[in-house]
Amino acid sequence: MIRATEVNLTINTALVEKLLVGFVANEVRKVGMERVVVGISGGIDSALSTYIAAAALGRENVVGILMPYKTSNPESKEDALRVVGDLGIEHRVIDITPMIDAYFGAFPEADQMRRGNKMARERMTILYDQSAVARALVLGTSNKTELLLGYGTLYGDMASALNPIGDIYKTQVRQLAKAMGVPAPIVAKTPSADLWLGQSDEAELGFTYDEVDRLLYLYVDQRYSSEDLVEAGFDALFVARVAERVRANQFKRRPPLIAKVSERTIDRDFRYARDWGR
């Protein structure tokens, strides 16, 4: 039987880099494009995605968009500019405060969750608008841990055209970021969605990425059961909470439900690759 302590999430970073760089180059060019836009938050995920894109397309073909809100941590912007400066890519700063405040002026009672989600979606709308200007695709920056836990905003940060890091766990994002030269302070800092001051992913989630990645790897990638995982040494409540979270957030990973009535329904029996004819 597997032991919780024995799980090894080490990846071959040279190989993964080659795969992900190839992915971005191939999928962008296949649709007749040359460029991507990416929202750079100052965190490790968007930094890594940006490094991958720059390696794939050349620094002249990556546009970084910084979208701070008035309460965003100023360090986030500094870190985002560090990525921009280190890679030498074009960038644009678009303050989302006017749009967000214009909306919540009518809803002063809105809590942090509503505000955070609205900001995440506002950023998506800006990335898509800027992608039209730049004749570019929108690069996604959600990692596998977030996608499985549903720790992200549907149609916000979870929305993109292509996502190079959606199949690697947060722990593996760190390995690859280090290997690809993402600045050390960005790799080292405490993960935060920075939707409000002092937000910390791990405090909010109630567990560390190290812990949950090992659990998710056994549960999702290796298909051990919840019972197996408890036997392997994971806390039973932790296992139950994570398993339920993965299940309950399945809707964030699936397209909208369409009521089937015809003989051939989109995404059910009308099935083509996204790359159809490319």
Binding site: R223, S225, R254, L257, I258, A259, K260, V261, S262, E263, R264, T265, R268, D269
Partner: protein, 311 residues
């Protein structure tokens, strides 16, 4: 009613070990067949067992002798990667629990069966007099259109009839009935009733009367019932899964091709048909197709075709 029973399956031995020699074989009887047209919850054995127990209670109230649940009634249909999670071995506590429920009432439930080699089958189980008497593993796994069964499941390799309190029966699961060869085997194998648990998704809304798919199914059920002079008992589920509806319309069709009972479309229902298997006997006075059927010819020609194909 015939009182001599087939022995309970020695778990997990295969159903085909049941003897074809069965005292009282051919005797006819009256019975009440119930169709439990339910809405299973996807991947929730606990909730579906409750639905099942509720329907069994209702069946007892209504003096039902044989109750049919739909295909995958214990699990829901679009299981995808949940298949191993909900699968049951023949000796599982859940199946023993169900067997206990069959002391006074025979019934058929649908579930995912896990074989000793850890293969997963879309199966239906016939329980009678406290034991699991027969298992049919779906042979034809639809993997087209809205279906992906072959992706998740292994394919059954037997179409067998089996003896029960009510005479010799056969079970076929949903798509199996779309292959006339499967219904033919049930007929030639001596079934007087085909039990057909189904999870048929609704589609086709151009017909002024009903769903396109219902018309097709109703024609199939009537065709076999009439041509083969036997009862077709079709238990179809209802409810929605990921936007796909299951249309219900469960029915018992008699050996004359007429409707004995028909459940509602698109909503939970519980229908009971009072039937007399003597009808099969009476209609076979007129319909001599079974008498005239040339098994040897069919077999010989099929062997020739297979020989040519695989030469």
């Amino acid at each position: 009613m015939a009182r001599h029973m087939s022995p309970a399956l020695p778990l997990p031995a295969a159903a085909h070990l049941l003897s074809a020699e069965y005292p009282g074989e051919g005797s006819t009887m009256k019975l009440r067949v119930g169709l439990a047209q339910i809405t299973p919850a996807l991947g929730r054995l606990d909730r579906n067992l409750e639905l099942c127990l509720e329907a069994l209670a209702k069946a007892r109230q209504e003096q039902v002798d044989l109750l049919l649940f739909p295909e995958l009634s214990l699990t829901g249909y679009y299981l995808k990667d949940l298949v191993p999670t909900v699968a049951q071995r023949r000796d599982s506590p859940l199946l023993r629990r169900l067997a206990d429920e069959s002391r006074d009432l025979s019934f058929v439930v649908g579930l995912v069966e896990e074989s000793p080699e850890h293969l997963y089958y879309n199966a239906c189980c016939y329980f009678e007099e406290g034991a699991l008497r027969h298992v049919h593993r779906k042979v034809y796994l639809p993997t087209y259109g809205i279906f992906d069964e072959h992706r998740y499941l292994a394919r059954g390799d037997r179409v067998r009839t089996f003896d029960t309190k009510f005479g010799r029966l056969a079970m076929l699961l949903c798509e199996d009935l779309w292959h006339p060869s499967a219904a033919y085997l049930a007929w030639v194998g001596g079934a007087r009733m085909i039990l057909a648990p189904s999870s048929s998704p609704g589609r086709g809304v151009g017909d002024p009367e009903r769903l396109g798919i219902s018309s097709t199914w109703e024609a199939i059920n009537r065709f076999y019932a009439k041509m083969f002079s036997l009862f077709v008992c079709f238990a179809n589920r209802v409810g929605y899964e990921d936007g796909i509806n299951f249309w219900g319309g469960s029915e018992v069709v008699g050996p004359d091709g007429g409707t004995v009972v028909k459940a509602e479309y698109l909503q939970d229902d519980f229908a009971v048909a009072a039937i007399d298997t003597a009808e099969v006997r009476r209609l076979r006075f007129f319909n001599t197709l079974l008498r005239d059927e040339d098994l040897a010819l069919t077999l010989r020609e099929l062997q020739r075709l297979a020989g040519e194909r695989y030469a």
